[in-house]
Symmetry: C2
Subunit: 391 residues, 2 copies
Amino acid sequence: MTPAASPRFEIGARDGAARSGRVFTPHGVLETPAFFPVATFGAVRGLSPDELTRVGVQGVLANTYHLHLRPGEELIAAHGGLHGFVGWSGPMLTDSGGFQVFSLDAFCRRSEAGVEFKSPLDGRAVFLSPESAVEIQEKLGADLIVVLDEFEEIAPGAAPDLARTRASLERTLRWAERGRGVQRRGDQLLFGIVQGGGSVELRAESAARTAALGFGAFAIGGLGVGESPDERARLIAAALESLPPAAPRYLMGLGLPEDLVAAVARGVDLFDCVVPTRHGRHGSVFTSRGRLNLRNARHRDERIPLDADCVCPVCARWTRAYLRHLLNAGDALAARLLSLHNLAYYMRLLRDAREAIATSSFAAFAARWRARYAEEGFADSSSRRAVTSPA
Amino acid sequence: MTPAASPRFEIGARDGAARSGRVFTPHGVLETPAFFPVATFGAVRGLSPDELTRVGVQGVLANTYHLHLRPGEELIAAHGGLHGFVGWSGPMLTDSGGFQVFSLDAFCRRSEAGVEFKSPLDGRAVFLSPESAVEIQEKLGADLIVVLDEFEEIAPGAAPDLARTRASLERTLRWAERGRGVQRRGDQLLFGIVQGGGSVELRAESAARTAALGFGAFAIGGLGVGESPDERARLIAAALESLPPAAPRYLMGLGLPEDLVAAVARGVDLFDCVVPTRHGRHGSVFTSRGRLNLRNARHRDERIPLDADCVCPVCARWTRAYLRHLLNAGDALAARLLSLHNLAYYMRLLRDAREAIATSSFAAFAARWRARYAEEGFADSSSRRAVTSPA
């Protein structure tokens, strides 16, 4: 057996700063811009791989933090890695575990060596280093993996603490180099991570210096955690402008449809977020005319699909009235079907974006999409990054 | 449009007291003996109609009690009935609601007119009569429906309270006649219900007198609620012997695989029970060599299917180790996949039973099945009927 080559990225079309392309992985081709739903424990909460594929999902993100704690990477490696364990045959991505450590354990102990935290499962101390984060991900065996970074909260409205942010940036760079140094497998694409907190200057510097380390792919971390949409736009733009244009760019943990459309316009290639599935579980439904809350009494008797423009398996078969009934009754099928519809919505949005880029009509597409999406009048300013906690 | 004819039953083969046959309904042919999973609120908890069909489920039972309280039969009728509402195109059965009233509201007020109970949703008083039970079920539109009966708990180990049991039996007969009197639709098969509590004599009398009322189909109610397996066998036998052999017999709310095999041997044609799905949600898995508890630590590293002899979509793809991991992590996919596997197990058991009857080899099949099923050594004496409560 010849070893699989490292995933490689090809840009197919450019439209302004936006671009569409392909990532060739050992588990198939990924058309970009792409969105990965979150498979916290290996599964996308209640959904089967087959139905994800049916609505157009190309790849999923699994959480290293959760899988390291339970069942552990050794059991997963014994299954031939995550693909064999969870039964997903397409591209997979794992994060480093760092974001969960910093978000879920406020008392974790950071040091140059790494970070020690308390396992929420049994209270034992667990140590994660830049090296072990890569080693664990090599055992998990996803196609796309990321280095451990030090996460710095952005205080909303306040001026960035530049000294602290710079310290995190420097540490993240040292950790990136250490993580890269222990990479043994040649078939996984390792992403460096741009940090820099709420500072446009530090974002640009972090991007340039991470690129100088020689990474072939770049993630932008630490966003969706307190900054305003305008700040976020500036921070993303600063990072992107300092990254090599030929490498894939992954915006971690974001977001709402409007976040995706804005970031694609600026040249982001890959996204992951819990939003479509978590919102679905709670009855919040994405439609071509905006988001609706299915628990609202006005949907009680509606014998119409969630979204009249949607061709997903949920909209083809069930009415809002039935899905609302199941949601109120607490039947797990409601969470499942609403998650599936929301994913179908996201997948169509990204597919439309790819086609618009290919025909050099992305700006017109985005304007049309925004106008339509605003029709129902659901304003939503909350796009804070959601932690994929087990709760 | 010509109105659909009433479902009719044809016996295809007999083997001792066991028989296989077909019920022709407006929504397709039902091969008997058959087992219906319980779709409490219209869905079989977390499972989609497509996947039920894929593992061989022919029909489902929905609970009139729950659907009457929420969302109400009018909304369902506006969807063209349950089939249109829940998206199930095969045969459907509804119960009368009585069993849930008597089981879930210990303070319900029984009278000759019917039973008044408190809605657990909003505390309001709701009245269910023999007439309204049929009228609600006509609006729900299942293919097979049942009359309202008065349920009498069987006190374990105690001699039956004959006066009280007889009073319930007489009332159930009067209610059966009243329910039948208001039936308007010609396309629904209405089942009379045999009661008689823990008395063999009263079971026989109830069966004979229900038959004399002219019903074309018979349910056996009030079992699996306290009697021992031996008592249950005698009570079922007494009822069956006094029922017209050409009519279909439905054993309500039971049970475990051993209950099904025993009852098929005596000539039961139809079953419903929450056991396969409820057990699945809690990690209890049916296999050809007995039942196993997937939460048990000995399954932690098992890279084998739930049941090596099973060809269901779950066993084809995932290991015990992965499913146990999902179960421990609380991912809804675990409950879904274990329920689906258990249903596949039940469907194969019933299909094997039908084939054995057709080849006059049911006794040998049952003996072989029992020996194999005992291999893992899981004794299980608990087959109390489980109330389909929303909990």
